[in-house]
């Protein structure tokens, strides 16, 4: 198995009784990239990630995480992986520094506790008891606890839910700094702008299947979503919109036509569909 891949998944299936939560999916995550896993609630995202994290056993298929089968729950793998779960409590009667030091002690080569507090924006809260922290601060502590073991691979499950816009940007910077350190990140999120801003590649899951996979900016191609959208306002202010695969030709037609008639195309713009457009189109109920 290639060492270039942090994660390889082939034919992964998971059933709960009659319910097939994951139906034969394949994907891989390269080392050093940020991989986004998107999809509506109940699509099979969390099940997939929890199989990769070693929390659940798969029904069928092959999974390799940093060369390990996560189901074996080897200690070596757990020493190299950091996990930010969706909503998890923490010991209440200890300080931020104490709980980070406790977790650091579980790993063979932990990062410096002060450095991790600085990186995750917990500076100044070292001696606060965890039960006095706000929701956003607790989320930063989740981040810090996942990073303190200096993992190669980090799972982030909805990492910025409940953050205000400034805190979200801060968290994004933290994730980017992980990438700069050569870490691999698997991100599940509901926020498509977050995936667009952070992920090198994304996969969109629905009904236990991967609908599409690729770089966020290129996802529109081949999915039926038109590649370029041209919009403008005509003389009476009405918004016009046309979709095309060949914006050069369309723009030429529009502008020469307008010039010939002595008109101005107000608010002329050419946009590519955002990840959100692609997502909504793909996940809309047929």
């Amino acid at each position: 198995m290639s060492t270039e891949k942090a994660i390889e998944v082939r034919g992964l299936r998971k059933s709960y009784g009659d319910l097939e939560a994951v139906r034969a999916i394949d994907f891989s995550v390269r080392r050093g990239e940020i991989f986004g896993l998107l999809g509506p609630n109940g699509a099979g995202k969390t099940t997939t990630v929890e199989i990769l994290e070693g929390y659940r056993d798969r029904s069928d298929g092959e999974v390799r995480v940093l060369g390990h089968d996560p189901q074996q729950r080897s200690r070596d793998l757990r020493e190299r992986v950091g996990i930010v779960l969706q909503s998890t409590g923490i010991y209440r009667h200890v300080t931020v520094r104490e709980v980070l030091a406790h977790f650091a002690g579980l790993y063979p080569h932990p990062r410096d506790v002060d450095e991790v507090m600085e990186l995750t924006g917990l500076g100044g809260k070292e001696d606060a008891r965890t039960r006095t922290l706000s929701g956003g601060q607790l989320r930063r502590l989740d981040f810090a606890l996942a990073l303190v073991g200096d993992p190669e691979l980090i799972f982030l499950d909805e990492p910025t839910t409940g953050f205000d816009p400034a805190a979200r940007r801060g968290a994004w910077d933290t994730v980017r700094s992980l990438k700069a350190l050569g870490k691999t990140v698997v991100l599940t999120t509901h926020y498509l702008d977050e995936a667009q801003a952070l992920a090198d590649r994304v996969a969109i899951i629905k009904d236990g299947r991967i609908l599409v996979e690729g770089a966020p900016s290129e996802l529109g191609a081949g999915t039926g979503a038109a590649y370029y959208r041209v919009s403008w306002r005509n003389g009476d202010g009405l918004l016009n919109q046309r979709e095309t695969d060949d914006p050069t030709r369309l723009l030429h037609e529009l502008t020469s036509d307008a010039l010939a008639r002595g008109q101005v195309l107000e608010s002329l713009s050419v946009t590519r569909p955002t990840l959100e457009d692609v997502y909504l189109q793909l996940t809309a109920d047929a």
């Binding site: 729950r73 200690r75 757990r78 996990i83 409590g89 923490i90 790993y107």
Partner: protein, 257 residues
């Protein structure tokens, strides 16, 4: 569970010790848990000691009785609450995502409970000697055997019970529905042999009455271990069952629904 350690990984023992120290720190920082753990048995001892103050025979019953109740509350009740709380809070799930081996983690948690048991037994023994004229334990070895067995038995039953408790809000109902009837029929406050025959029959099938008998033998009567073989058998049987259920039903995650 494979534990292929890489070079430089902390040892199993050091991780269990690390968890134990954290649990002790948290125990002392939570005033209500510390209070209930130590004040309640001492309060009971003081109350019943006052009621029975003129009767040494009754005092000789109440001191080992309260000691038995302490073993039950520090292990069975405390672990049933604690495991339910940590499961519901997601702390168990979080720990499972770290390199901490489950065994080391549970050892740290159980060690915390057992430390409380040991502290209480010492407190009760001293209070019995100083205030109620109950002599120092006649047979310390026997006392140790019963405390250790009682701890193993009730700790495993407490963990097993936590699997049945659906959420933290209902934990005290579940725990008290067992704890209160059991201490009443098992002779914590009076000689269990004076209870009605059918209640005594139920008590004899449960482990606490045998633990109290054993503690009484070790602390007051000076009867040897050989007098308590059938009682030891009952405790061991419950321990085996408790451990089986504790391991089998173990869930690190809150049930959905």
């Amino acid at each position: 569970m494979p534990e292929s350690r890489s070079l430089g990984s902390p040892s199993f023992a050091s991780l269990a010790w690390r968890q134990y120290r954290l649990e002790r720190k948290m125990f002392w920082r939570n005033p209500s848990s510390a209070f209930f753990n130590f004040a309640l048995p001492l309060l009971f001892l003081a109350l019943f000691g006052a009621i029975f103050s003129s009767n040494q025979k009754n005092l000789d019953v109440i001191v080992p009785g309260i000691a038995g109740m302490s073993v039950l509350s520090t292990t069975f009740s405390a672990l049933a609450y604690n495991m339910t709380f940590m499961r519901e809070q997601g702390i168990l799930k979080r720990m499972r995502g770290t390199p901490m081996p489950s065994g080391a983690y549970l050892l740290g948690i159980a060690g915390n409970a057992i430390t409380n048991t040991a502290l209480q037994i010492v407190l009760i023994t001293c209070a019995g000697k100083v205030f109620f004229g109950v002599d120092w334990p006649k047979d310390v070895g026997e006392l140790l055997v019963f405390v250790v067995l009682g701890v193993l038995c009730f700790a495993s039953l407490g963990v097993a019970l936590s699997h049945v408790i659906p959420n933290y809000e209902s934990a005290s109902a579940y725990v008290n529905a067992i704890f209160l009837p059991v201490i009443i029929i098992s002779g914590v406050f009076y000689d269990a042999n004076h209870a009605p025959r059918f209640l005594n029959g139920i008590a004899q099938a449960l482990p606490l009455v045998h633990l109290i008998d054993g503690l009484s033998g070790a602390m007051v009567k000076g009867t040897g271990l050989s007098d308590h073989l059938s009682g030891l058998g009952v405790i061991v049987a419950w321990t085996v069952m408790g451990m089986f259920l504790a391991v089998r039903g173990f869930s690190w995650e809150q049930r959905r629904s």
